[in-house]
Amino acid sequence: MSHDAAAGQADIVKTHDAAAEAESAKRAQAGNIRPVPFRGGGFRHRPHLRVSLLVFVAVIVLWQLGCQYGFISTIALASPAQAFGAIMDLVHTGMLWKHVGLSLYRLIAGWTLGTLLGIAVGIMVGLFSLARAGLMPLVSALFPIPKIALLPLFVVWFGIGEGSKIATILFGTFFPTVIATYSGIDSVDRNLIRMGQSFGLTWASIVRKIIVPGALPAILSGFRISASIAIVLLVAAEMIGARYGIGAYILTAGALFALDKLIAGVILLSVIGMVIAWLIGIAEKRLLDWRM
């Protein structure tokens, strides 16, 4: 740059004391000056662990007090203490494990088989146009059927024993898993697949290292849905045709108007549901550690 140009630059470019200017502006307007009103904030969640716990405990305490002082009729609802007593009875008679164990067996067997088959079919539908064209109409037609309506049919096919109950849960979890898996595959960033191709990765590598991991978040959130469907179907199937199991226990309790046992059964279901949600949460943390 020439000397003249540099000199010219010096004329247009000056240093500027912004802080001094702000200070003098403040002084000049001293009479008519106020802070800008704050309008932001809110719409944001912070964890309140104590509040969560407090509300939970308060509901149970109020429920218990209500039952004790006749505010809640014992004909309408059993107290938490009575329900706890019913659970302790189950423990002492050794029936707890019989009911819970059988229910868990049906749940785990049905859900695992349904999920594995669902993922396999979902991957095929996600990858192959032929599979999609052939299977999707079937999936769409069978998905909305409440699978419990098929239980009588499953009893004919698989017998009155465990087979029919497991089949109900299997079918109930299969369809949502297919849908979660193939829509997860559809949502994998096309550019990542193109990247894989551009580096000469084999087809199998692209599926295994790019498509399946990319679909995993959708598959895992599908697990949450299929798990809750599985619990609903478990109870329904056990209420229709089982001697043991939480569903059968609740049904018997209802028939005998033993509200304490009924509530106890519902609590067991709630605990199973929460444990499953917790396990899926752990799986998500483990498998999706690359996300936040």
Partner: protein
């Protein structure tokens, strides 16, 4: 290895995308493709790397790739295309695994390319932890690991903020001075084109034809200092493109 783009033309349905495009990428040469948005320059780059097939014409490779080249035509993408579920090392290892390079051999390659892109401290980081500039450095490291003959760069700096772009451009120039790679560099940024291009191919708006090809006879390492001399070239390119860009901007588009 040289690349010859021979009379390439293409349509998407009724939309004419490219017509009669011919040029060559010589050994150690960076060819910039510029043109208004939607002129088919990214499509052209996909033809060059064999990711799509043109309707007419062909892309030819002349001569053998350098010894040990695992993937002669290697892309750098605008959006980096890193797998978010793999660490920096994992992303590089991804493109080596299929060539049977694993364990110690892979370790050596990964360490080498991370050193060359100044990423040695970031091998274990997840992509989400990295800034845009660092992600693109990882993508460059990944490209170097397969010893490409020609790098196909699709707007590599366009997703970055302007300061990061400056830094990475300096790094690219430095890298070229060391490695003398060949490249086809697609951009809409004229300043980038005159900074790094030995040859600049100007495409017209759709259907993309070659408006003009200019060569810049100034060594890359001097261009940072001699920006003022490049200004008239950039100005000339802008005059060539201005009306095309204006027209292209007013078009309704159905194809991406």
């Amino acid at each position: 290895m040289e690349l010859i783009v021979d009379n390439v033309g293409h349509d998407y349905g009724d939309t004419q995308v490219l017509r009669d495009v011919s040029f060559t990428v010589k050994h150690g040469e960076i060819v910039c493709l510029i043109g208004p948005s939607g002129c088919g320059k990214s499509t052209l780059l996909r033809f060059i790397g064999g990711l799509e097939r043109p309707d007419s014409g062909q892309v030819l490779a002349a001569g053998d790739p350098p010894a040990g080249s695992l993937n002669p035509l290697t892309y750098i993408f605008q959006d980096f295309a890193l797998l978010p579920w793999r660490t920096v090392e994992g992303n590089i290892s991804l493109v080596l695994e299929d060539h049977g390079i694993k364990g110690k051999a892979a370790r050596a390659v990964i360490d080498d390319v991370l050193r060359r892109t100044k990423l040695s401290d970031f091998g274990k980081a997840w992509p989400r932890q990295l800034s845009g500039g660092m992600k693109q450095r990882v993508a460059i490291a990944r490209a170097l690991s397969v010893k490409p003959a020609v790098m196909l760069m699709d707007e590599p700096l366009s997703a970055l903020d302007s300061q990061t772009r400056e830094l990475l451009m300096d790094d690219l120039v430095e890298l070229w001075l060391r490695e003398r790679f060949s490249a086809c560099y697609v951009t809409h940024n004229l300043a980038e084109a005159v900074r790094i291009g030995h040859k600049i191919v100007v495409l017209s708006r759709r259907p993309g034809r070659i408006r003009e090809t200019i060569e810049i006879d100034m060594p890359l390492n001097e261009r940072g200092e001699r920006m003022a001399e490049l200004d008239p070239i950039q100005r000339q390119l802008w005059l060539l493109m201005r009306d095309e860009v204006r027209e292209a901007d007013r078009e309704l588009t159905d194809v991406a």
